[in-house]
């Protein structure tokens, strides 16, 4: 949990409504630096909406987003990125006409660096992720797995305080998942940031997260260590139906 003085990214009583549909209803979540926090829930639970709110792509209908003790609820995605909130998307969304190196440099320049410093940061991130051999390849020519990893690298090139990853393992095979898990586990220490990880692959969630937050139907259902969440009957019910929840209880 966060300590006084720690930098945190907080969602406080977040409500998001699209017309009559309530995507999020009173969600509270705190992302702390130094740990990987999982965000799970069935399809339509509101996970991506919450990440959109935290990264400035979606303004909350009610509630507040607090970053470094400042209300940033109405800040757009550019401001949030420059303030240290990096994110990846469900689709990799690389800049197809730019090289991998230029993809990363774009993020570094977005934080205010000049070309030379941006190139240096790009090289350093690629080297850490052991992807330097891809530096001069075009974004549109990469394999699926490489695309996903480069999208994470690009978010890391922002040098973020908080990194929000939206289903980074989707479509990856077992070997790629293992590599990805090692990578995500190492990110908080290497970049001194907090990671919020949306993922359907429970092996990844259990393997890398220190804490897990569960959403269901736009509401917070549970929060705790991966084991606590795994054994929570409400969570089992949300994922597997009423019978599973009753058996566990």
């Amino acid at each position: 949990m966060s300590q006084p003085g720690d930098i945190t990214l907080e969602a406080r009583n977040i409500h998001v409504a699209f017309g009559g549909i309530h995507a999020l209803s009173g969600v509270d979540l705190t992302v702390s630096r130094g740990i990987v926090q999982g965000l799970i829930g069935p399809n339509g639970a509101g996970k991506t909406t919450l990440v959109n709110v935290l990264s400035g792509f979606q303004s909350p209908t009610r509630g507040h987003v607090i970053l470094k003790d400042r209300d940033v609820s109405q800040d757009g995605p550019q401001k949030m990125a420059r303030a240290g909130v990096g994110r990846s998307f469900q689709a990799a969304r690389l800049f197809q006409d730019l090289t991998v190196s230029q993809n990363l440099m774009t993020a570094a320049i977005g934080t205010g660096l000049g070309m030379a410093a941006a190139r240096e940061r790009s090289e350093s991130v690629l080297e850490w992720m052991e992807l330097s051999h891809l530096a001069e390849q075009m974004g549109g020519s990469l394999s699926y797995g490489d695309e996903r990893r480069i999208s994470i690298a690009r978010a890391l090139a922002l040098n973020p305080h908080f990194l929000l990853l939206d289903e980074p393992a989707s479509g990856m095979n077992d070997a790629e998942c293992q590599t990805l898990m090692r990578l995500i586990r190492d990110i908080p220490a290497r970049f001194e940031c907090g990671v919020l990880l949306i993922e359907h692959n429970m092996e990844v969630i259990m393997g890398v997260c220190q804490r897990v937050h569960v959403l269901d139907g736009g509401r917070s259902l549970a929060e705790g260590s991966p084991q606590e969440v795994q054994n929570n009957p409400d969570v089992r019910r949300a994922y597997l139906g009423d019978d599973a929840g009753n058996e566990a209880a």
């Binding site: 990264s55 792509f57 757009g76 995605p77 550019q78 401001k79 990125a81 420059r82 990096g86 994110r87 998307f89 969304r93 690389l94 800049f95 197809q96 006409d97 730019l98 230029q102 993809n103 440099m105 774009t106 993020a107 320049i109 977005g110 934080t111 000049g114 070309m115 941006a118 530096a135 001069e136 974004g139 690009r154 978010a155 922002l158």
Partner: protein, 357 residues
């Protein structure tokens, strides 16, 4: 291949090969034309070089941002008239353009001073209009640039005491030689290359590819677009000065939809995602236009004159555009810049590795 492995000058050549290749080709071509071609061909080549300035001017904004600008020709017209007011017909100005301020009506200025001020005026106008237009995105931004073109056309067409309305302003000094047009084309190409490889250019190209992902990278599009639009306005201004002093006349109807769509066609044919594409598009389309223009006039073959009906060049150009849009939507260059041949790079890498071992 890492450029860091190469000696400095080779890394420089590799990184800037596209612009060096374009410059070398144009210089050699103009030299050959100057030495061996007729005056008529020299004029055709000069016209093509001016078109390179026009298309590169449009490319700087449209190519990098992905927003098609229908209004870039506006800045060309502004500069053409500005240089006309400063350099033409000292005796006639008080009669034909009596509404001009005294500083223009009663004085004539050196051509290079007028060129510089006219380009500056075009850039300033682009900056001021850009302050408003660059807040828009996508189709809205494109249509708003078209609105600027219409506003200027209607204003200049009806401002008879200053622009002579739809009549032509004549008597401008004609000092544009192929070498001068070449220098201007090279300057335009160089400016475009420097911009597209700058931090602002990179951000703009990223936003062209994916605006949402660019926003997630902290990219604020407004200033990047405004700088590109202003630079584009300056280059279009240069093109306006060149065309005015190449033809010796300025007419508002020369800077309207025909020229806009011809320039955009060149950009589409070559490929609007690369500077090399912009230049290739001008060369290919200019060649098609010139060849069919000559055939329309008639080519004597023995005792018979072979000719095609008037308008054939437009039909052929339209056909070429349709074919390219169908089979190569990123244009002839496919969105790529000219690059050193892969075989050369492989050979060079092998020789470097051999040296290391």
């Amino acid at each position: 291949m890492k450029t860091a492995e190469l000696p400095r000058w080779q890394a420089f050549v590799q990184r800037h090969f596209a612009v060096l290749f374009i410059a070398a080709c144009l210089v050699v071509f103009v030299a050959v034309v100057e030495l061996f071609a007729s005056v008529l061909v020299q004029r055709v080549v000069t016209e093509a070089l001016i078109r390179i300035v026009i298309v590169v001017g449009i490319y700087v904004f449209t190519g990098n941002s992905g927003i098609i600008s229908f209004g870039s020709v506006t800045f060309m017209a502004v500069a053409a008239y500005a240089t006309g007011w400063q350099t033409c017909c000292a005796m006639l100005k008080p009669i034909t353009m009596s509404g001009l301020p005294s500083i223009l009506r009663d004085h004539t200025y050196p051509v290079y001073v007028s060129a510089a001020t006219s380009v500056g005026l075009a850039a300033l106008l682009a900056f001021i209009t850009g302050l408003i237009l660059m807040r828009l995105s996508g189709l809205a931004a494109s249509i708003s640039t078209l609105a600027i073109l219409f506003i200027l056309n209607v204003t200049y067409s009806n401002w008879e005491t200053v622009t002579m309305g739809t009549a032509s302003m004549v008597g401008l000094p004609t000092y544009i030689t192929p070498w001068l047009a070449l220098a201007a084309a090279l300057l335009a190409v160089l400016c475009a290359w420097i911009f597209q490889n700058s931090a602002r250019g990179l951000l703009l190209r990223a936003s062209r590819a994916d605006e949402v992902a660019a926003a997630a990278c902290g990219v604020s599009l407004y200033w990047s677009r405004l700088i590109a639009f202003t630079l584009s306005g300056a280059i279009m201004g240069l093109a306006g000065v060149l065309s005015a002093h190449f033809l010796g006349t300025v007419s508002i109807n020369s800077y309207f939809l025909n020229l806009t769509f011809l320039a955009l066609a060149m950009l589409v044919v070559g490929g609007m995602k690369s500077l090399s594409g912009a230049v290739v598009g001008v060369i290919v389309v200019s060649t098609i236009i010139d060849v069919f223009r000559r055939i329309e006039v008639g080519i004597p073959v023995g005792d018979v004159t072979f000719s095609l009906p008037p308008g054939t060049q437009e039909l052929v150009l339209a056909g070429v555009m349709i074919i390219i849009l169908m089979f190569r939507k990123d244009g002839l260059m496919g969105g790529q810049e000219f690059r050193l041949p892969v075989r050369f790079l492989r050979q060079h890498r092998r020789s470097l590795e051999a040296k290391d071992t």
